[in-house]
Symmetry: C2
Subunit: 246 residues, 2 copies
DNA sequence: GGCGGCTGGTCCATTCAGTGGAACGCGGTC
DNA sequence: GACCGCGTTCCACTGAATGGACCAGCCGCC
């Protein structure tokens, strides 16, 4: 029974998911009123649904509002892709960290972003990204490494719409160079003072399924020195994933 | 519109959560038919709800069925308790690992279980428990460490129902000893050949909010040697959490 | 090749789970 | 004391959700 016209979702499922996403995006606690505003769902409905989610431990009440609960933690650690990828990546990351001492990431494509599934802390402070955090595909080395090897034109076109018209050509030239060198660079495009170097991780069908990167301070990290190390790590991870499937 | 009487949940919210839990409990992929059997929800309803959850990336289709998707990974890493606890625990665990080289866990109470929120791999193979995994409170050192300092009679009574009548007294005596010594032991009660040593982590109100443990092979790990180390780690974590709140 | 069994998806007449404005209680501020 | 904002609860009403029936596809067996 939905009476007055509201802007938000109508189905119960969409409403629950919208509430969970709003709490996630809050980066800390949020209130019933704020969730209602953000989602367009009436306040009393939000109150009721949040009450149910708290009862089942999907959400939890804290001092200053509602936060993500333990049940979602239990579900999250069992997410298929991060689990498989993280497991395969552990020894590769250990070796890459020994060689570089810098901040490492393995990430997968998620819509217009790259989503980090596992990271290792290096020198950088504040940490630019860690597991569960999204970074834009078109500016990061991680994203460019995957885009360069993406053959699905519609997926490419979807990401390209975020690029200015006059920046299209240079971007396509950059992707072509990445395909030649097997390595992508982000020179302070995403995070000020941070340079990133990444290579793609491919499936047996030569489809990019992830990317692995090293990031460090631009004043101090030699991107050229990192390139062969990252390439090698990506290749190692590609092979580990292939034998995981078999 | 629910027509024929079914055993399963009736509300959309309960059904969605039942489906997610069934997929979590599958420890890999599961099928629409299996979810329907496990939840008591009609197959066509499961098919429809799973379709929606896949569209929103809460679930994902794999070769052999349905698995947990990336969205739940993104939500899970933002779960409030594991995040706070994990962050505070990192340096403490690093120090404890340096001193012991054994398998470490920090866990919180969740119903009748202890839920690991962060772990460090030591010598043990297979790994007895890791982040996101539940272990029974009444047999593990982690659980006993928390129960010994739990003053809420109803919470205690809820857990005690899992204990045989004639084992009640000895268990209560064990809890009393833990309160004297500030350390709990699990001598192969939970995992064969594995001994665990744990101490509680308290809130400023002296309420046990977590526990920290060391586990190793009974043939090789000296529980007595571990006791002061674990006590010290729990105290350090207790203090770190207290200053996190302030 | 035909058959049977199993799976997952789609349809739509039916119905009851879900609704949200209104009212309420509480706490904080002036 | 009045006002404001928050979160909760209620219940007459209704439209979102339903699930049995049917379908297509796949697999294994004779």
């Amino acid at each position: 029974m939905r009476s007055a016209p509201h802007d938000g979702p109508v189905s119960v499922l969409d409403r629950i998911l919208a509430i969970l996403d709003t709490v996630r995006e809050a980066h800390g606690a949020t209130t019933i009123t704020r969730i209602a505003l953000a989602t367009g769902i009436p306040k009393s409905t939000v109150s009721r649904l949040v009450g149910d989610l708290v009862r089942q431990r999907y959400l939890m009440r804290a001092e200053d509002g509602v936060v993500i609960g333990l049940r979602l933690f239990e579900l999250g650690v069992r997410a298929s892709t991060p689990r498989r990828l993280g497991l395969a990546a552990l020894p590769v990351l250990a070796e890459l960290f020994n060689a570089t001492g810098e901040h490492l990431n393995v990430a997968v494509q998620e819509g217009p972003d790259m989503l980090s599934v596992i990271s290792v802390r290096g020198r950088l402070r504040p940490v630019p990204s860690r597991a569960g955090v999204r970074v834009p595909s078109i500016t990061t080395a991680l994203g460019k490494a995957v885009l360069a090897f993406t053959e699905d034109e519609s997926a490419l076109a979807g990401v390209m719409t975020g690029i200015d018209r006059y920046r299209r050509r240079p971007f396509e030239r950059e992707l072509a160079a990445i395909r030649m060198e097997w390595v992508a660079i982000d020179r302070c495009e995403t995070f000020p003072g941070v340079v990133g170097v990444a290579s793609p991780v491919l499936s047996p069908e030569r489809v990019p399924v992830a990317a692995i990167s090293v990031a460090g301070p631009v004043s101090d990290m030699d991107a050229n020195r990192m390139m062969p190390l990252v390439r090698h790590a990506a290749l190692a991870l590609t092979h580990r994933l292939a034998s995981q499937v078999a």
